[in-house]
Each structure stands twice: as C-alpha cells, then as structure tokens.
C-alpha cells in the first residue's frame, strides 16, 4: 500500500506565508498623508492639545495611523496608553475607571470611539479634562473632538500601496484592484482581502 499526497487545486496558488497581501505585510505599510508629513501633522496635533479625532469610514487607515502615531509619540518621550473601545457598556465603564487612573499628561489613544455611548463619551471627556490627559481617537464621525486628520482613500493611493506590496513581476492586478475598490466603496482593507484570495488561488501571480 502507498500513500500519495496529491496537490489540491486550492493549494496550487500562493502559500499564505508568501502571499503579498498577508496581513503581516499590509500592516507594515506606512500611513500616507494626503497633505503634509509627520512633522507638520504632529505640530497640528500639538496645537490641538493632543485632543483630537482621526475620522473616516472603515478601511481608510485610521487604525494604522493611530498605531504609527503611538510609536512616534513614545519616541518623542510622551507617555501613551493605546486601547480599543469595548462594545459592551460594562466594559466601557472599566475603560473609564482605568482612564481615571492614568498618570497625568498621558495621551490615551482610543480606537473605534464611535462605539462609546453618548453618556460614556461625556464622562470620558470630563475625565480627560480633570486628569489633564491627551485623547486621540479614531471614529467614523467627528462628534466630540476636533478633527485632526480625515482619512480618505483614492484609487491612486490604492495603486501606490499595492506597488509597495506586490512583486515587480506581478501583472494583471490593476483591473482587479480597480473593480474591488469600486465594489467595496473605497474600503482598502476589503480590497486587500479580496486580492489576497486571488493570489491564494493562483488567479494572480
């Protein structure tokens, strides 16, 4: 008796570790400002007393920007605390209690602040004021903090990012990328996921 390992059609494409759209690679992309650069944008944030919002719909790079802001602020000597907003009210109460305990001048970097209830939003702002904290949030709508950066995407931005990710010899991806960009209404994360599947299946190489 012999056992043959036959390749399944599903594995004929790119193994996950070599997929150019693997999350490991897309997460390493640098945020691209539409105008200005880190220096000018950090100056703008300083003028806002480090209390501001990164605004935009899903898949526009808000979390990427927040993560990279975290690194920059720590490098500049700021004390930061990065959190993701919990969706449950009880967990939001814990977040408020923990915020209350942060050392003065800490900058709280809060992802997905649109999940906060109206009451918790107000309580958070009061705590930030009382404890002299910074607060930079990502949110879908600018409602309770001035906008620092509004994240937008464009097909030009998508092409620029894909050019960094894809192998030089890769071809035929432009039409797929454009179609996916339209289909997902500018959500670049979803475009990456769709293109990931095309490389995984071998449809794109």
């Amino acid at each position: 008796m012999s056992i043959d390992l036959k390749p399944d059609p599903a594995t004929l494409g790119c193994p996950a570790r070599l997929n150019p759209l693997a999350v490991l690679r897309t997460d390493a992309l640098q945020f691209q400002f539409q105008q200005g650069d880190w220096e000018s944008e950090l100056e703008k944030l300083r003028r806002l007393n480090f209390r501001a919002a990164i605004v935009g719909p899903k898949g526009r790079g808000k979390t990427t920007l927040l993560e990279q802001l975290h690194t920059r602020l720590v490098d500049l000597g700021h004390h930061c605390s990065r959190r993701r907003t919990p969706s449950a009210k009880a967990d939001q109460a814990i977040l408020l209690t923990e915020t209350e305990a942060l050392p003065s001048s800490t900058i709280l970097l809060l992802d997905s602040a649109e999940l906060l209830t109206r009451t918790n939003r107000r309580l958070l702002l009061l705590t930030v004021e009382r404890r002299n904290l910074g607060l930079v949030v990502t949110t879908h709508r600018s409602e309770f903090l001035p906008t620092w950066i509004e994240c937008r995407t464009s097909s030009e931005l998508l092409h620029s990012l894909l050019t960094q990710l894809l192998p030089r010899e890769s071809s035929g991806w432009e039409a797929h990328a454009n179609a996916a960009f339209r289909k997902h209404a500018g959500n670049i994360r979803e475009v990456f996921r769709e293109l990931y599947d095309l490389y995984a299946s071998g449809e794109l190489v």
Partner: protein, 126 residues
C-alpha cells in the same frame, strides 16, 4: 549590525534536532545591555498574526562587537505548514535591548524537510 548563522545551511530541521548556530554583532553602542535570542514561531496569512516565543537566550553586556555560539533544544513541534489562508513559520530572532537592531532567520521544522501543505489530499493506493 547583528547577523545570525545557523549551522545547517539548508535551514530544514527535523523535530528532534537542536537548532544550533552563531550570532555575530558589530557596531553596537555601549548602551546595549544584552542581545536576546528567541526561538519562536509565528503565523502569517489573511488573518491576524499569532506569535509564540518558545525559548530565549540572553547574551549579557555584548560590547561593541563579538560573536557567540547558541544552542536551542529541539522544539518538538508544531510543524511548519502552509495553506491558502495561514502559514506557520519558525524563526530565530536576535534583538538588542534596548531595541536598536534586530535580525531574524526563518527555517522549516518538519519531518520531511518540507513544510506541510494544508489542503493536500491523500490518496491511498492498495
């Protein structure tokens, strides 16, 4: 600069083989307290990354330049594998503390020397 060199040039290891090699460094500052060598695996693919450090070796007060042999016990598993959605990759990483330089070298851990391909179907011929 940090460089990692594994003794086996093909970078394929069986699960009961130790991972042996050498770390070489040059041009580090005197502020470097240690170089940490980590035996780890991580996942890569469509979803979020998982990472597990299996063992660590510290090279204390490495100085500006030098080299040192290292030996990690056989990790035993899991095997290196790849499918369309996820891969598991083994690696040795060298990192200075405080962080100023790092180096990573990947290898395959599997009985045959080749990573396991998830989704491969087995046919049994009697």
């Amino acid at each position: 600069m940090i460089a990692l060199k594994l003794d086996k040039p093909k970078l394929h290891y069986d699960i009961d083989e130790p991972i042996v090699g050498e770390v070489i460094w040059d041009g580090l500052t005197e502020r470097c307290d240690l170089i940490e060598l980590r035996l780890l695996w991580y996942t890569s693919g469509k979803g979020d990354r998982d990472l597990l450090v299996i063992a660590r070796i510290a090279v204390m007060k490495p100085g500006v330049s030098g080299k040192q042999r290292f030996h990690f016990d056989p990790p035993g598993g899991p095997y290196s594998f790849s499918g369309a959605l996820i891969s598991l990759v083994w690696a040795i990483e060298a990192v200075t503390v405080p962080l100023s330089d790092s180096q990573i070298i990947e290898f395959t851990l599997a009985p045959s020397g080749n990573e396991v391909r998830i989704g491969a179907t087995s046919g049994i011929n009697a």
